[in-house]
Symmetry: C2
């Protein structure tokens, strides 16, 4: 039996940082297509994926189905399901969906990715599949481009960690799904509230998370100025 691998596109967020726009940012259009479609297209080309699970807020499920039908009409391996209240709850919904299909075993992998990072590369997805399979968990990062500063009180610097050890987290973050769920379920309610990053669960439980080298261009579309950057990247050279 082949190892099952799922793409998990996290579009649960309502995107409150984008100014007056009413649409969550994953649905804004860049270079003629919604952001989430650009992202999906990166995953669709991989034959390794058993299925690609897209998690969106409930009011956006029908809309998501419509745009996927419009832009990738021939694609049969996409499931659209409801996201959770938090990022980790959304991931748990994806794992539950896999489990309900009786497809979850120790080796089943999930490659979780922000719907608003449309510039992820094929190389990054490939390496996520490789390292999640070999090590059980991996995280996509780039070396920190700025000096990182720590302030405990928000007024004065408390430390400036050594820059060569510091990275900025991107996505995908990839896991053996069953193990991730076990670790998550072992947390207290309080820990669940604090641990907003799935990789941090592994770190706190002393389980290894391998690094995958990301790309500076693998940006998250968060602020209005990111939309202009995205247009520039897509329109400027046609490479993405």
């Amino acid at each position: 039996m082949n190892k099952r691998i799922y793409g998990v596109i996290l579009a649960g967020g309502q995107g409150t940082r984008m100014g007056n726009s009413e649409k969550p940012k994953q649905f804004l259009v860049i270079a003629g297509k919604p952001v989430i479609i650009h992202t999906l297209e990166k995953f669709i080309v991989f034959s390794e994926f058993t299925e690609i699970i897209v998690l969106v807020p409930r009011p956006w499920i029908a809309y998501t189905r419509d745009i996927i039908k419009q832009y990738v009409p021939d694609e049969k391996h996409i499931a659209i399901i409801e996201g959770g209240k938090t990022r980790n709850e959304t991931i748990m919904n994806a794992i539950e969906y896999i489990d309900n299909q009786e497809q979850l075993d120790d080796e089943t992998l999930i490659i979780t990715h922000d719907s608003v990072r449309p510039f992820v590369t094929y190389r990054i997805i490939e390496e996520n599949i490789k390292y999640a399979g070999e090590c059980g968990a991996c995280d996509t990062v780039i070396p920190a481009s700025d000096t990182i500063v720590e302030s405990v009180d928000g007024s004065y610097i408390s430390s400036i960690p050594e820059r060569r050890m510091m990275y900025q987290g991107q996505t995908p973050q990839s896991f053996r799904a069953k193990r991730l769920r076990e670790l998550y379920e072992s947390l207290t309610t309080e820990e669940k509230d604090i641990l907003t990053d799935a990789c941090k669960i592994y770190v706190l439980k002393n389980e290894p998370v391998h690094l995958v080298e990301g790309e500076v261009s693998n940006i998250k579309i968060t602020y209005p100025h990111d939309l202009r950057v995205a247009e520039a990247i897509l329109g400027g050279n046609g490479q993405c």
Copy 2:
């Protein structure tokens, strides 16, 4: 006697990350002007500055003089001097220049700023002047937009610090110049090599560094894609 305050524009770098361009990135043109001119224009409007000191690599001194004459011909309070081998050595050159003019006392402030951050705001410069004067040192930062990941070995995550305490450093970084020089001169040669960030000298010597709130748009032009962002910011709405 009034407190003396100097703008210190750091353009010492040769800018090797910009692809094939031969010009250091501070001289690349966006929206019709070299990046460094956009930056200078933000400082020129402040009457508080005794002088604005621009530090560039020796081969670029004459060129810098020429473009400043071309774009800001009426400005008399700009000095162009040679930068050092490192960022801190460049800052020390600026302090030596001030000292040689017999203008250095305990209260003399320097507002040091990357020449490749043309989108600094007037509010940020004002707050740097205020907090450097009150506290002796300050650093411009924004809350970390990504999860920050630490890896000691470069292969596995060693820790994921609590995100709400993590900030990304920008500039200006501002100091009482005499005290900064004293602290720098107290370092060993080895420490000087390691401490690439001037604020870190203060942190290691247990001297306070106040935070100043930066802006997401106060980007550093480092990669080719930043130039496109910069064009979009400048061309898109004329606000900068």
